[in-house]
């Protein structure tokens, strides 16, 4: 991380810009290429690993954007928590972790058309709009203080609501995923019939 205060002279300014560019292209290539792998990979485990590399590259980009706390949160919560949850889901829901479902040809064609159209539109828009660029203050030191004060000041209500949301999600997920042990005989028979039918179809 190149600290802005160290880059006082013009020469070190230029080298700082070069270093930032190199780091940007490294992280961007990492996340972009693995995002493309997420689309193209037919194996769900490989998809999850590619998603992990995408998230790590994004964390590096957050560092470059002077958002150290967000980068740490990205690594800890996203790469460390959410993705592990997803991988647990993969393990719990596939008979074989390498099972694959092939999309139909027409679906692939439609998806490629939509994706190329939207990316072209977005890229054209981005390169043609004159963005209002505010140069950040030269000695802006990212302060955790400011972030904490903002979370408990201007953003207090969404902060508290998100804690309630997490509680609700915990209860809801536990209720949804709990094992159904005490089934009445009738509905247990129905469930068994349904699973037999499902096995026949698969």
């Amino acid at each position: 991380m190149i600290h802005p205060m160290l880059a006082a002279t013009a020469a070190s300014d230029a080298s700082a810009a070069t270093a930032t560019a190199i780091l940007f292209y490294l992280c961007a290539a990492m996340s972009g290429i693995s995002a493309i792998c997420v689309v193209l990979s037919r194996n769900i485990v490989r998809t999850a690993v590619c998603l992990l590399f995408t998230l790590m590259g994004l964390a590096g980009l957050y560092f470059l954007l002077n958002s150290e706390f967000l980068a740490a949160v990205q690594l800890v919560v996203y790469a460390g928590g959410t993705l592990i949850l997803i991988i647990f889901g993969v393990m719990l829901t596939s008979k074989s972790p390498f099972s694959r479902f092939e999309p139909r040809k027409i679906e692939v064609a439609i998806a490629i058309g939509v994706v190329i159209l939207i990316f072209g539109a977005l890229a054209t828009a981005i390169t043609h709009v004159a963005w209002p660029i505010a140069t950040p203050p030269a000695d802006s030191i990212y302060s955790m203080n400011a972030l904490g004060l903002a979370l408990l000041g201007d953003y207090l209500v969404p902060f508290e609501i998100s804690s309630v949301l997490l509680l609700l999600v915990m209860i809801g997920a536990a209720y949804l995923a709990k094992a159904r042990r005490h089934q009445p005989a009738e509905s247990a028979g129905e469930a068994a019939a349904a699973s037999r039918r499902a096995r026949q179809w698969s």
């Binding site: 997420v38 997803i86 977005l122 203050p137 030191i141 969404p158 949301l165 499902a198």
Partner: protein, 108 residues
């Protein structure tokens, strides 16, 4: 070789279309969830890039709105993943498959 706002926005657009393609192409429900995560991350990258380049604030009071919204997005994504996985586990228990093409009736 200055890295500006456009570079980050183009990368965000790439991540977004990758997520969209994942949602459209995967038939595994968890694959679709991964596509949603990619889309959310693309939005996060745009938020943080705008926070850095377009609305930087002053030295005394740096603008942090984009970063804080991104933090809330991460919290919501974690919550969404937990609920979605619970639903998928239920679905798998009922149909013994995770293929979304099986989800065709409301009362499984």
């Amino acid at each position: 070789m200055n890295i500006g706002l456009e570079h980050y926005l183009v990368l965000g657009a790439l991540l977004f279309v990758c997520g969209l393609g994942t949602i459209l192409l995967k038939r595994n429900a968890i694959g679709i969830l991964m596509g949603v995560e990619l889309v959310l991350n693309a939005a996060n990258l745009n938020l943080v890039a705008f926070n850095r380049f377009a609305h930087a604030g002053t030295t005394a009071a740096p603008a942090l709105d984009g970063q804080i919204v991104a933090i809330f997005v991460i919290v919501l994504a974690a919550a969404e993943a937990a609920v979605a996985l619970a639903i998928f586990l239920n679905f798998y228990n009922n149909f013994s498959s995770i293929d979304v093409e099986r989800a065709q009736n409301l009362k499984g």
